[in-house]
């Protein structure tokens, strides 16, 4: 860029600083660029114009993104949908726990009959109640799976929070919130709390035994 343009640009920037201070809102960037392009004359090169044009396009892009995010009504997602889904899932946990306890009550009463019936019936009753106890494992597993879903919903909620905040006055926060996770960091205790795996991803007891014996 030529020295004449440097001087002209510096003069316009100083004029802007006096009008708006050191901070320019994202939605005002387009106006600022437009004003600069209009006021500059003569010595502006083709590459300068391309640069200004790119800046203006970027400002328009951010402005449109903000409008689209606002149209999604992110606060509704947080306050209504996620809260509701979390409550529903908590209700499922409560209902399955109640049902499991009722099943266990009945199984324990059945088992207590073994002392009354005796003979061949008693061990058969015990065998069947054992199967009932084993089947009731489901409550723990489903409870943990639902807890994982609730945790995922909370994570989404936090990300929405961050997004809304980032598109507020401090646009530079966007870059800071998008820092990538470190892939090669050693596993912490928290990293090991994954909960139950999906059936096609999980190790069965034989695989666990093999791992246990060979590690």
């Amino acid at each position: 860029m030529s020295s004449a343009v440097d001087r002209d640009l510096a003069r316009h920037l100083e004029s802007l600083r006096q009008q708006t201070g050191d901070t320019v809102k994202v939605e005002d960037i387009g106006d600022v660029v437009r004003a600069l392009l209009t006021s500059l004359s003569g010595d502006v090169s083709a590459s300068d114009l391309r640069l200004f044009s790119e800046v203006q396009n970027l400002a328009n892009y951010i402005h449109n993104a903000k409008a689209e995010i606002a149209a999604l009504r992110p606060q509704d997602i947080q306050q209504q949908y996620i809260a509701s889904a979390t409550d529903e899932l908590d209700a499922i946990v409560g209902a399955t726990e109640n049902a499991t306890n009722a099943i266990l009550d009945a199984a324990e009463k059945l088992e207590s009959l073994t002392m009354d019936v005796g003979g061949e019936i008693a061990p058969r009753l015990t065998e069947q109640t054992t199967l009932i106890y084993e089947a009731c494992n489901f409550q723990d597993i489903t409870g943990q799976r639902i807890t994982k879903v609730v945790r995922a919903l909370k994570h989404i909620e936090e990300r929405i929070d961050a997004l809304v905040e980032a598109f507020g006055p401090e646009v530079k926060d966007l870059e800071e919130s998008a820092a990538p996770a470190t892939a090669d960091a050693p596993l912490s205790d928290e990293d090991l709390l994954n909960g139950p795996q999906l059936p096609d991803m999980a190790h069965d007891q034989a695989a666990i035994d093999a791992l246990f014996d060979n590690s």
């Binding site: 088992e111 084993e134 009731c136 489901f138 723990d140 709390l193 246990f212």
Partner: protein, 128 residues
């Protein structure tokens, strides 16, 4: 030497139904002195104040996890030799390895059955 079925067993799980299931299964195979804790810190307090021959613990609990409980047990001069079976839905390879490195006696993945529980107890305690 035969296993004393009167030994005190501590089962640790934050799901009360799971405590009840394990208690019933243990009772069916003849163990009668069974105590319960709902997280690692409660279990540790009970272990330090009691005389337990076996710990059967879940992993994923708050505020103290089963893994943290295991590490506390293994670093305690009085408790370090207590047999400790982890019963958990955490089935990733790194979980099993981490538990083994911390000194777990055996590892059962949920959902489990009575036969598996008994087999792992035999492997840890001996025939009963």
């Amino acid at each position: 030497m035969a296993v004393d079925k009167n030994m005190h067993v501590l089962i640790v799980d934050d799901y009360k139904t799971m405590l009840r299931i394990i208690r019933n299964l243990l009772r069916q195979i003849g163990f009668v002195n069974i105590d319960e804790a709902t997280d690692g810190s409660m279990a540790l307090q009970m272990l330090r104040g009691g005389n337990y021959g076996l710990v059967i613990s879940d992993w994923n609990m708050e505020p103290m996890t089963g893994l943290q409980l295991l590490r506390e047990v293994r670093s305690d001069a009085k408790l370090k030799n207590t047999p400790f079976i982890m019963v958990t839905a955490e089935s990733k390879s790194e979980n099993v390895i981490a538990a083994k490195e911390a000194g777990v006696s055996n590892y059962i993945v949920k959902p489990f059955n009575a036969e598996t529980l008994q087999a792992k107890m035999v492997s840890v305690l001996g025939e009963f």
